[in-house]
Protein backbone atom coordinates (compact mmCIF):
# COMPACT_ATOMS: atom_id res chain seq x y z
CA UNK A 1 0.00 0.00 0.00
CA UNK A 2 1.21 3.47 -0.88
CA UNK A 3 -0.18 6.21 1.35
CA UNK A 4 0.67 9.05 -1.01
CA UNK A 5 -1.23 7.39 -3.86
CA UNK A 6 -4.17 6.45 -1.62
CA UNK A 7 -4.45 10.04 -0.47
CA UNK A 8 -4.36 11.39 -4.03
CA UNK A 9 -7.06 8.94 -5.13
CA UNK A 10 -9.14 9.64 -2.04
CA UNK A 11 -9.12 13.39 -2.69
CA UNK A 12 -10.09 12.91 -6.31
CA UNK A 13 -12.97 10.53 -5.53
CA UNK A 14 -14.23 12.55 -2.63
CA UNK A 15 -14.44 15.72 -4.72
CA UNK A 16 -16.01 13.90 -7.66
CA UNK A 17 -18.78 12.45 -5.50
CA UNK A 18 -20.29 15.88 -5.11
CA UNK A 19 -19.99 16.63 -8.81
CA UNK A 20 -21.55 13.33 -9.83
CA UNK A 21 -25.32 13.87 -9.73
CA UNK A 22 -26.19 10.19 -9.29
CA UNK A 23 -23.91 9.76 -6.33
CA UNK A 24 -25.06 13.00 -4.80
CA UNK A 25 -28.70 12.00 -5.14
CA UNK A 26 -28.05 8.65 -3.48
CA UNK A 27 -26.32 10.40 -0.60
CA UNK A 28 -28.98 13.04 -0.23
CA UNK A 29 -31.89 10.59 -0.31
CA UNK A 30 -31.70 9.17 3.25
CA UNK A 31 -31.13 12.62 4.74
CA UNK A 32 -34.02 13.98 2.71
CA UNK A 33 -36.26 11.22 4.04
CA UNK A 34 -35.16 12.07 7.54
CA UNK A 35 -36.22 15.68 7.04
CA UNK A 36 -39.58 14.69 5.56
CA UNK A 37 -40.44 12.15 8.27
CA UNK A 38 -39.30 14.34 11.09
CA UNK A 39 -40.82 17.64 10.09
CA UNK A 40 -43.75 16.81 7.85
CA UNK A 41 -44.97 13.55 9.33
CA UNK A 42 -43.83 14.34 12.86
CA UNK A 43 -47.36 14.45 14.23
CA UNK A 44 -48.38 11.09 12.81
CA UNK A 45 -45.26 9.40 14.10
CA UNK A 46 -45.46 10.90 17.56
CA UNK A 47 -46.16 7.57 19.21
CA UNK A 48 -43.22 5.84 17.53
CA UNK A 49 -40.53 4.32 19.76
CA UNK A 50 -37.07 5.73 20.36
CA UNK A 51 -35.17 6.66 17.25
CA UNK A 52 -37.68 5.09 14.87
CA UNK A 53 -37.16 7.63 12.05
CA UNK A 54 -33.43 7.79 12.57
CA UNK A 55 -33.07 4.02 12.43
CA UNK A 56 -35.13 3.90 9.26
CA UNK A 57 -32.91 6.46 7.53
CA UNK A 58 -29.73 4.80 8.73
CA UNK A 59 -30.90 1.46 7.36
CA UNK A 60 -31.39 3.18 4.03
CA UNK A 61 -27.88 4.62 4.12
CA UNK A 62 -26.27 1.32 5.05
CA UNK A 63 -28.09 -0.40 2.21
CA UNK A 64 -27.51 2.26 -0.41
CA UNK A 65 -24.07 3.80 0.01
CA UNK A 66 -21.77 0.76 -0.05
CA UNK A 67 -23.75 -1.17 -2.59
CA UNK A 68 -24.80 1.57 -4.94
CA UNK A 69 -22.24 4.29 -4.47
CA UNK A 70 -19.09 2.22 -3.87
CA UNK A 71 -19.92 -0.39 -6.51
CA UNK A 72 -20.71 2.34 -9.03
CA UNK A 73 -17.52 4.24 -8.32
CA UNK A 74 -15.47 1.12 -9.00
CA UNK A 75 -17.51 0.14 -12.06
CA UNK A 76 -17.37 3.64 -13.53
CA UNK A 77 -13.58 3.61 -13.58
CA UNK A 78 -13.66 0.29 -15.38
CA UNK A 79 -16.24 1.43 -17.89
CA UNK A 80 -14.39 4.63 -18.74
CA UNK A 81 -10.97 2.94 -18.79
CA UNK A 82 -9.56 5.28 -16.18
CA UNK A 83 -8.77 2.28 -13.98
CA UNK A 84 -6.50 1.00 -16.73
CA UNK A 85 -4.72 4.36 -16.88
CA UNK A 86 -4.15 4.26 -13.13
CA UNK A 87 -2.82 0.73 -13.14
CA UNK A 88 -0.43 1.61 -15.97
CA UNK A 89 0.92 4.36 -13.73
CA UNK A 90 1.72 1.71 -11.12
CA UNK A 91 -1.33 2.22 -8.90
CA UNK A 92 -1.96 -1.13 -7.20
CA UNK A 93 -5.38 -2.71 -6.86
CA UNK A 94 -5.04 -2.37 -3.09
CA UNK A 95 -4.45 1.39 -3.31
CA UNK A 96 -7.38 1.76 -5.67
CA UNK A 97 -9.88 -0.27 -3.65
CA UNK A 98 -8.79 0.98 -0.24
CA UNK A 99 -9.11 4.61 -1.24
CA UNK A 100 -12.56 3.97 -2.71
CA UNK A 101 -13.74 2.03 0.32
CA UNK A 102 -12.48 4.82 2.53
CA UNK A 103 -14.39 7.40 0.50
CA UNK A 104 -17.55 5.33 0.89
CA UNK A 105 -16.98 5.07 4.63
CA UNK A 106 -16.48 8.83 4.99
CA UNK A 107 -19.61 9.50 2.91
CA UNK A 108 -21.57 7.14 5.14
CA UNK A 109 -20.29 8.90 8.23
CA UNK A 110 -21.30 12.29 6.87
CA UNK A 111 -24.74 10.94 6.01
CA UNK A 112 -25.11 9.20 9.36
CA UNK A 113 -24.13 12.24 11.38
CA UNK A 114 -26.48 14.47 9.38
CA UNK A 115 -29.31 12.02 9.97
CA UNK A 116 -28.54 11.80 13.68
CA UNK A 117 -28.86 15.57 14.01
CA UNK A 118 -31.81 15.98 11.69
CA UNK A 119 -33.68 13.44 13.80
CA UNK A 120 -32.63 15.25 16.98
CA UNK A 121 -31.50 12.15 18.78
CA UNK A 122 -30.13 12.64 22.32
CA UNK A 123 -26.47 13.66 22.29
CA UNK A 124 -25.58 11.15 25.02
CA UNK A 125 -26.15 8.36 22.46
CA UNK A 126 -23.89 9.87 19.82
CA UNK A 127 -20.77 7.87 20.70
CA UNK A 128 -22.64 4.54 20.78
CA UNK A 129 -24.45 5.50 17.62
CA UNK A 130 -21.13 5.95 15.81
CA UNK A 131 -19.82 2.58 17.01
CA UNK A 132 -22.96 0.67 15.93
CA UNK A 133 -23.07 2.57 12.70
CA UNK A 134 -19.46 1.93 11.69
CA UNK A 135 -19.78 -1.72 12.66
CA UNK A 136 -22.81 -2.23 10.43
CA UNK A 137 -21.35 -0.11 7.64
CA UNK A 138 -18.28 -2.31 7.50
CA UNK A 139 -20.52 -5.38 7.32
CA UNK A 140 -21.82 -4.24 3.95
CA UNK A 141 -18.80 -2.33 2.63
CA UNK A 142 -16.84 -5.35 1.38
CA UNK A 143 -19.88 -6.65 -0.46
CA UNK A 144 -20.16 -3.29 -2.20
CA UNK A 145 -16.52 -3.57 -3.26
CA UNK A 146 -17.21 -7.11 -4.46
CA UNK A 147 -20.14 -5.94 -6.60
CA UNK A 148 -17.85 -3.31 -8.15
CA UNK A 149 -15.26 -5.98 -8.80
CA UNK A 150 -17.74 -8.27 -10.51
CA UNK A 151 -19.36 -5.65 -12.74
CA UNK A 152 -17.79 -4.49 -15.94
CA UNK A 153 -19.82 -1.29 -16.13
CA UNK A 154 -22.27 0.80 -14.14
CA UNK A 155 -25.24 -0.90 -15.74
CA UNK A 156 -24.24 -4.34 -14.48
CA UNK A 157 -23.30 -2.86 -11.10
CA UNK A 158 -26.88 -1.57 -10.83
CA UNK A 159 -28.33 -4.95 -11.80
CA UNK A 160 -26.27 -6.72 -9.17
CA UNK A 161 -26.67 -4.23 -6.36
CA UNK A 162 -30.42 -3.49 -6.57
CA UNK A 163 -31.66 -6.86 -5.24
CA UNK A 164 -29.01 -6.78 -2.54
CA UNK A 165 -30.09 -3.30 -1.52
CA UNK A 166 -33.69 -4.41 -1.18
CA UNK A 167 -32.61 -7.53 0.68
CA UNK A 168 -30.84 -5.38 3.25
CA UNK A 169 -33.52 -2.73 3.51
CA UNK A 170 -36.73 -4.72 3.83
CA UNK A 171 -36.22 -7.31 6.61
CA UNK A 172 -35.69 -4.88 9.49
CA UNK A 173 -38.64 -2.75 8.29
CA UNK A 174 -41.01 -5.70 8.29
CA UNK A 175 -39.54 -7.71 11.13
CA UNK A 176 -42.36 -6.68 13.48
CA UNK A 177 -45.08 -7.81 11.09
CA UNK A 178 -44.66 -11.52 11.43
CA UNK A 179 -42.61 -13.90 13.48
CA UNK A 180 -41.13 -15.68 10.49
CA UNK A 181 -39.82 -12.46 8.93
CA UNK A 182 -38.62 -11.41 12.35
CA UNK A 183 -36.47 -14.52 12.63
CA UNK A 184 -34.98 -14.18 9.18
CA UNK A 185 -34.37 -10.48 9.66
CA UNK A 186 -31.94 -11.19 12.49
CA UNK A 187 -29.25 -12.39 10.09
CA UNK A 188 -29.01 -9.00 8.37
CA UNK A 189 -26.66 -6.32 9.71
CA UNK A 190 -29.30 -3.67 9.06
CA UNK A 191 -31.47 -5.39 11.67
CA UNK A 192 -28.45 -5.47 13.97
CA UNK A 193 -28.25 -1.70 13.90
CA UNK A 194 -31.93 -1.44 14.73
CA UNK A 195 -31.67 -3.95 17.58
CA UNK A 196 -28.63 -2.26 19.09
CA UNK A 197 -29.96 1.28 18.93
CA UNK A 198 -33.45 0.44 20.12
CA UNK A 199 -32.02 -1.48 23.07
CA UNK A 200 -29.75 1.46 23.89
CA UNK A 201 -32.62 3.93 23.97
CA UNK A 202 -34.85 1.58 26.02
CA UNK A 203 -32.82 2.43 29.17
CA UNK A 204 -32.71 -1.24 30.10
CA UNK A 205 -29.63 -3.35 30.56
CA UNK A 206 -27.85 -3.17 27.17
CA UNK A 207 -26.37 -6.66 27.10
CA UNK A 208 -28.85 -9.41 26.35
CA UNK A 209 -29.12 -12.27 23.91
CA UNK A 210 -30.47 -10.09 21.10
CA UNK A 211 -27.73 -7.47 21.25
CA UNK A 212 -25.07 -10.14 21.38
CA UNK A 213 -26.48 -11.87 18.34
CA UNK A 214 -26.66 -8.52 16.58
CA UNK A 215 -22.97 -7.89 17.16
CA UNK A 216 -22.01 -11.43 16.14
CA UNK A 217 -24.06 -11.05 12.93
CA UNK A 218 -22.08 -7.92 12.05
CA UNK A 219 -18.75 -9.61 12.71
CA UNK A 220 -19.76 -12.62 10.63
CA UNK A 221 -20.80 -10.36 7.76
CA UNK A 222 -17.51 -8.48 7.92
CA UNK A 223 -15.54 -11.74 7.82
CA UNK A 224 -17.73 -13.18 5.05
CA UNK A 225 -17.37 -9.93 3.12
CA UNK A 226 -13.58 -10.03 3.35
CA UNK A 227 -13.51 -13.70 2.34
CA UNK A 228 -15.92 -13.25 -0.56
CA UNK A 229 -14.06 -10.21 -1.77
CA UNK A 230 -10.69 -11.95 -1.47
CA UNK A 231 -12.02 -14.93 -3.39
CA UNK A 232 -13.56 -12.77 -6.12
CA UNK A 233 -10.37 -10.79 -6.42
CA UNK A 234 -8.20 -13.88 -6.72
CA UNK A 235 -10.52 -15.44 -9.26
CA UNK A 236 -11.12 -12.42 -11.41
CA UNK A 237 -8.62 -9.68 -10.66
CA UNK A 238 -9.66 -6.07 -10.74
CA UNK A 239 -9.45 -5.53 -14.48
CA UNK A 240 -8.92 -8.08 -17.22
Amino acid sequence: MNLRICKALFMKDFKNCFVNKNVFLMLALPVFFGVIYKFLLGDILQGATGGFVMVLCIIMTISIVPLNVLANMVAEEKEKHTLRSLMLANVSATDFLLSKAFVALVLMLIDGILIFFVCQEPMEYFGYFLIFYILTSLSVLFFGALVGLLSKDQMSAGTLSSPLMILLMLPPMFSQLNEMIGKIAVIFPTTSFQTLYVQLSSHQNFWNQDTMIAIIVCIVWILLGILAFGYGYKKKGLDD
Binding site: I5, A8, K12
Partner: protein, 276 residues
Amino acid sequence: MGKNVIEVKQLSKSFGTTVALDNCDFVIRKGEIFGFLGPSGAGKTTTIKLLTGQLKSDGGDIQILGENPFSSKIKNQIGIMSDNSGLYEKMSVYDNLLLFTKIYDIDKSCIEKVLEEVDLLEAKKQLVSQLSKGMRQRLIFARTIIHSPSLLFLDEPTANLDPSTANEVREIIKKLNAKGTTVFLTTHNMEEADEMCHRVAFLNHGHIIESGQPEELKLKYSKQQIRMKTNQDDYMIPLDKDILKQELEHIDHLLMIHSVEPTLKEVFLSLTKEES
Protein backbone atom coordinates in the same frame (compact mmCIF):
# COMPACT_ATOMS: atom_id res chain seq x y z
CA MET B 1 22.27 4.34 -31.53
CA GLY B 2 23.79 2.41 -28.68
CA LYS B 3 22.41 -0.41 -26.61
CA ASN B 4 19.13 -2.24 -26.64
CA VAL B 5 16.25 -0.95 -24.55
CA ILE B 6 14.03 -3.93 -25.27
CA GLU B 7 15.06 -7.47 -26.15
CA VAL B 8 12.43 -10.03 -27.06
CA LYS B 9 13.17 -13.68 -27.72
CA GLN B 10 10.75 -16.33 -28.95
CA LEU B 11 7.74 -14.54 -27.56
CA SER B 12 4.45 -16.43 -27.91
CA LYS B 13 0.91 -15.81 -26.72
CA SER B 14 -2.38 -17.56 -27.44
CA PHE B 15 -5.91 -16.86 -26.33
CA GLY B 16 -7.57 -20.25 -26.25
CA THR B 17 -7.11 -21.52 -29.77
CA THR B 18 -6.30 -18.09 -31.26
CA VAL B 19 -2.57 -17.67 -31.71
CA ALA B 20 -1.95 -13.95 -31.23
CA LEU B 21 1.87 -14.06 -31.30
CA ASP B 22 4.10 -16.88 -32.49
CA ASN B 23 7.81 -16.99 -31.72
CA CYS B 24 8.63 -13.34 -32.20
CA ASP B 25 12.19 -12.03 -31.89
CA PHE B 26 13.14 -8.37 -32.02
CA VAL B 27 15.17 -5.68 -30.30
CA ILE B 28 14.60 -1.96 -29.83
CA ARG B 29 17.59 0.29 -29.63
CA LYS B 30 18.01 3.29 -27.42
CA GLY B 31 16.85 6.50 -29.05
CA GLU B 32 15.00 5.05 -32.01
CA ILE B 33 11.40 5.14 -33.15
CA PHE B 34 10.52 1.54 -33.78
CA GLY B 35 7.36 0.83 -35.73
CA PHE B 36 5.40 -2.35 -35.23
CA LEU B 37 3.24 -2.59 -38.33
CA GLY B 38 0.41 -4.85 -39.22
CA PRO B 39 -3.28 -5.03 -40.06
CA SER B 40 -5.79 -5.15 -37.23
CA GLY B 41 -5.76 -8.48 -35.44
CA ALA B 42 -2.08 -8.99 -36.24
CA GLY B 43 -1.10 -9.00 -32.56
CA LYS B 44 0.19 -5.44 -32.06
CA THR B 45 -1.80 -4.59 -28.95
CA THR B 46 -1.06 -8.01 -27.50
CA THR B 47 2.66 -7.32 -27.97
CA ILE B 48 2.43 -3.99 -26.14
CA LYS B 49 0.47 -5.62 -23.32
CA LEU B 50 3.11 -8.34 -22.98
CA LEU B 51 5.97 -5.83 -23.04
CA THR B 52 4.35 -3.63 -20.39
CA GLY B 53 3.33 -6.36 -17.98
CA GLN B 54 -0.40 -6.21 -18.65
CA LEU B 55 -0.44 -9.81 -19.88
CA LYS B 56 1.58 -12.92 -19.15
CA SER B 57 3.26 -14.59 -22.12
CA ASP B 58 2.97 -18.29 -22.85
CA GLY B 59 6.65 -18.55 -23.59
CA GLY B 60 9.76 -16.62 -24.49
CA ASP B 61 11.84 -13.97 -22.84
CA ILE B 62 11.33 -10.20 -22.51
CA GLN B 63 13.95 -7.80 -21.20
CA ILE B 64 12.84 -4.21 -20.88
CA LEU B 65 15.33 -1.66 -19.55
CA GLY B 66 17.21 -4.63 -18.17
CA GLU B 67 14.24 -5.86 -16.14
CA ASN B 68 11.29 -8.16 -16.64
CA PRO B 69 8.03 -6.47 -17.71
CA PHE B 70 6.37 -6.96 -14.33
CA SER B 71 9.10 -5.21 -12.37
CA SER B 72 7.81 -2.11 -10.60
CA LYS B 73 11.26 -0.52 -10.88
CA ILE B 74 10.71 0.36 -14.53
CA LYS B 75 7.17 1.71 -14.24
CA ASN B 76 8.42 5.26 -13.65
CA GLN B 77 10.61 5.10 -16.72
CA ILE B 78 7.97 4.05 -19.21
CA GLY B 79 4.90 5.77 -20.56
CA ILE B 80 2.05 3.85 -22.15
CA MET B 81 -0.69 5.18 -24.38
CA SER B 82 -3.11 2.40 -25.19
CA ASP B 83 -5.95 2.50 -27.67
CA ASN B 84 -8.45 2.83 -24.84
CA SER B 85 -6.78 5.15 -22.37
CA GLY B 86 -9.40 6.85 -20.23
CA LEU B 87 -9.64 10.36 -18.86
CA TYR B 88 -11.71 11.72 -15.97
CA GLU B 89 -14.51 13.45 -17.85
CA LYS B 90 -15.81 15.55 -14.99
CA MET B 91 -12.41 16.88 -14.06
CA SER B 92 -10.49 19.69 -15.71
CA VAL B 93 -7.51 19.18 -17.97
CA TYR B 94 -5.28 20.47 -15.19
CA ASP B 95 -6.79 18.27 -12.48
CA ASN B 96 -6.45 15.18 -14.64
CA LEU B 97 -2.72 15.79 -14.84
CA LEU B 98 -2.47 16.92 -11.22
CA LEU B 99 -3.66 13.49 -10.08
CA PHE B 100 -0.89 11.83 -12.03
CA THR B 101 1.82 14.15 -10.71
CA LYS B 102 0.77 13.01 -7.25
CA ILE B 103 0.78 9.35 -8.26
CA TYR B 104 4.24 9.66 -9.81
CA ASP B 105 5.39 11.94 -6.97
CA ILE B 106 6.69 14.65 -9.28
CA ASP B 107 6.50 18.42 -9.09
CA LYS B 108 3.35 20.25 -10.15
CA SER B 109 5.37 22.50 -12.42
CA CYS B 110 5.54 19.58 -14.89
CA ILE B 111 1.87 20.15 -15.71
CA GLU B 112 2.31 23.52 -17.37
CA LYS B 113 5.41 22.33 -19.14
CA VAL B 114 3.77 19.30 -20.63
CA LEU B 115 0.58 21.20 -21.53
CA GLU B 116 2.75 23.66 -23.40
CA GLU B 117 4.38 20.79 -25.21
CA VAL B 118 1.09 19.40 -26.51
CA ASP B 119 -0.35 22.87 -27.04
CA LEU B 120 -3.15 22.62 -24.50
CA LEU B 121 -2.06 25.32 -22.09
CA GLU B 122 -5.00 27.54 -22.93
CA ALA B 123 -7.48 24.75 -22.28
CA LYS B 124 -6.12 23.87 -18.86
CA LYS B 125 -9.23 24.92 -16.96
CA GLN B 126 -11.67 23.24 -19.33
CA LEU B 127 -13.49 20.08 -18.35
CA VAL B 128 -12.43 17.03 -20.30
CA SER B 129 -16.02 16.45 -21.38
CA GLN B 130 -15.85 19.72 -23.33
CA LEU B 131 -12.74 18.82 -25.31
CA SER B 132 -12.60 17.83 -28.96
CA LYS B 133 -11.31 14.42 -29.92
CA GLY B 134 -7.95 15.78 -30.95
CA MET B 135 -7.57 17.72 -27.71
CA ARG B 136 -8.39 14.61 -25.72
CA GLN B 137 -5.78 12.63 -27.58
CA ARG B 138 -3.24 15.34 -26.87
CA LEU B 139 -4.21 15.33 -23.20
CA ILE B 140 -3.78 11.56 -23.03
CA PHE B 141 -0.43 12.12 -24.64
CA ALA B 142 0.46 14.75 -22.06
CA ARG B 143 -0.43 12.35 -19.29
CA THR B 144 1.67 9.62 -20.90
CA ILE B 145 4.77 11.79 -20.93
CA ILE B 146 4.27 13.85 -17.78
CA HIS B 147 6.86 11.89 -15.79
CA SER B 148 9.43 12.23 -18.62
CA PRO B 149 9.66 8.52 -19.43
CA SER B 150 12.70 7.37 -21.38
CA LEU B 151 10.66 4.73 -23.20
CA LEU B 152 7.25 5.30 -24.75
CA PHE B 153 4.73 2.70 -25.90
CA LEU B 154 2.16 4.14 -28.26
CA ASP B 155 -0.61 1.86 -29.48
CA GLU B 156 -1.99 3.34 -32.71
CA PRO B 157 -1.61 6.92 -31.49
CA THR B 158 -3.12 8.42 -34.62
CA ALA B 159 -5.90 5.94 -35.36
CA ASN B 160 -9.33 7.61 -35.58
CA LEU B 161 -7.85 11.09 -35.72
CA ASP B 162 -8.47 13.53 -38.53
CA PRO B 163 -5.42 14.13 -40.75
CA SER B 164 -4.38 17.42 -39.20
CA THR B 165 -4.67 16.21 -35.60
CA ALA B 166 -2.83 13.03 -36.54
CA ASN B 167 -0.10 15.24 -37.92
CA GLU B 168 0.09 17.22 -34.69
CA VAL B 169 0.51 14.02 -32.72
CA ARG B 170 3.23 12.83 -35.09
CA GLU B 171 5.08 16.11 -34.67
CA ILE B 172 4.98 15.76 -30.89
CA ILE B 173 6.33 12.21 -31.11
CA LYS B 174 9.18 13.35 -33.33
CA LYS B 175 9.98 16.23 -31.02
CA LEU B 176 10.18 13.92 -28.01
CA ASN B 177 12.30 11.45 -29.89
CA ALA B 178 14.67 14.22 -30.89
CA LYS B 179 15.17 14.86 -27.18
CA GLY B 180 16.20 11.25 -26.64
CA THR B 181 13.00 9.32 -25.89
CA THR B 182 12.86 5.82 -27.33
CA VAL B 183 9.50 5.11 -28.95
CA PHE B 184 7.75 1.82 -29.63
CA LEU B 185 4.86 2.58 -31.90
CA THR B 186 2.22 0.38 -33.46
CA THR B 187 0.27 1.43 -36.48
CA HIS B 188 -1.51 0.06 -39.50
CA ASN B 189 -0.69 3.22 -41.38
CA MET B 190 2.32 2.42 -43.55
CA GLU B 191 2.93 5.99 -44.74
CA GLU B 192 3.06 7.14 -41.15
CA ALA B 193 5.61 4.45 -40.33
CA ASP B 194 7.68 5.35 -43.36
CA GLU B 195 7.71 8.99 -42.35
CA MET B 196 8.52 8.49 -38.68
CA CYS B 197 10.26 5.24 -37.92
CA HIS B 198 13.96 4.50 -37.92
CA ARG B 199 13.21 0.81 -38.08
CA VAL B 200 10.03 -1.20 -38.59
CA ALA B 201 8.87 -4.77 -38.21
CA PHE B 202 5.99 -6.20 -40.21
CA LEU B 203 3.63 -8.33 -38.20
CA ASN B 204 1.08 -10.59 -39.80
CA HIS B 205 -1.01 -13.21 -38.01
CA GLY B 206 1.37 -13.13 -35.06
CA HIS B 207 4.53 -13.60 -37.13
CA ILE B 208 7.23 -11.03 -37.82
CA ILE B 209 7.64 -11.45 -41.54
CA GLU B 210 10.27 -8.78 -42.15
CA SER B 211 12.10 -6.02 -40.34
CA GLY B 212 14.62 -3.29 -41.03
CA GLN B 213 14.96 0.36 -41.94
CA PRO B 214 12.20 1.57 -44.25
CA GLU B 215 14.74 2.68 -46.90
CA GLU B 216 16.51 -0.64 -46.73
CA LEU B 217 13.28 -2.59 -47.12
CA LYS B 218 12.12 -0.51 -50.04
CA LEU B 219 15.43 -1.12 -51.82
CA LYS B 220 15.37 -4.80 -51.01
CA TYR B 221 11.93 -5.26 -52.48
CA SER B 222 12.30 -2.80 -55.31
CA LYS B 223 11.48 -4.22 -58.74
CA GLN B 224 14.77 -2.79 -60.00
CA GLN B 225 13.17 -0.71 -62.70
CA ILE B 226 13.47 2.75 -64.10
CA ARG B 227 10.57 4.74 -65.39
CA MET B 228 11.21 6.64 -68.61
CA LYS B 229 8.93 9.41 -69.76
CA THR B 230 9.35 11.05 -73.15
CA ASN B 231 7.10 13.33 -75.09
CA GLN B 232 5.72 10.25 -76.82
CA ASP B 233 5.91 7.46 -74.31
CA ASP B 234 5.93 6.41 -70.67
CA TYR B 235 7.53 3.03 -69.96
CA MET B 236 9.76 0.98 -67.68
CA ILE B 237 13.18 -0.43 -68.28
CA PRO B 238 15.29 -2.67 -66.00
CA LEU B 239 17.65 -0.93 -63.62
CA ASP B 240 20.89 -1.51 -65.53
CA LYS B 241 23.62 0.90 -66.58
CA ASP B 242 24.05 -0.48 -70.10
CA ILE B 243 20.36 -0.72 -70.89
CA LEU B 244 19.89 2.82 -69.65
CA LYS B 245 22.77 4.05 -71.84
CA GLN B 246 21.25 2.38 -74.90
CA GLU B 247 17.83 3.84 -74.19
CA LEU B 248 19.15 7.33 -73.78
CA GLU B 249 20.85 7.16 -77.18
CA HIS B 250 17.66 6.91 -79.22
CA ILE B 251 15.41 9.21 -77.24
CA ASP B 252 15.09 12.76 -78.59
CA HIS B 253 12.89 14.45 -76.05
CA LEU B 254 13.30 13.10 -72.53
CA LEU B 255 10.87 14.47 -69.96
CA MET B 256 11.72 12.44 -66.86
CA ILE B 257 13.77 9.54 -65.52
CA HIS B 258 12.55 8.07 -62.28
CA SER B 259 13.74 5.16 -60.21
CA VAL B 260 10.76 3.12 -59.17
CA GLU B 261 10.80 2.04 -55.57
CA PRO B 262 7.84 0.50 -53.83
CA THR B 263 6.15 2.16 -50.93
CA LEU B 264 6.25 0.44 -47.56
CA LYS B 265 2.67 -0.54 -48.14
CA GLU B 266 3.52 -2.29 -51.38
CA VAL B 267 6.38 -4.13 -49.69
CA PHE B 268 4.04 -5.29 -47.01
CA LEU B 269 1.35 -6.36 -49.44
CA SER B 270 3.78 -8.32 -51.59
CA LEU B 271 5.19 -10.02 -48.50
CA THR B 272 1.79 -11.06 -47.21
CA LYS B 273 0.85 -12.34 -50.68
CA GLU B 274 3.95 -14.50 -50.69
CA GLU B 275 3.10 -15.84 -47.27
CA SER B 276 -0.36 -16.98 -48.19
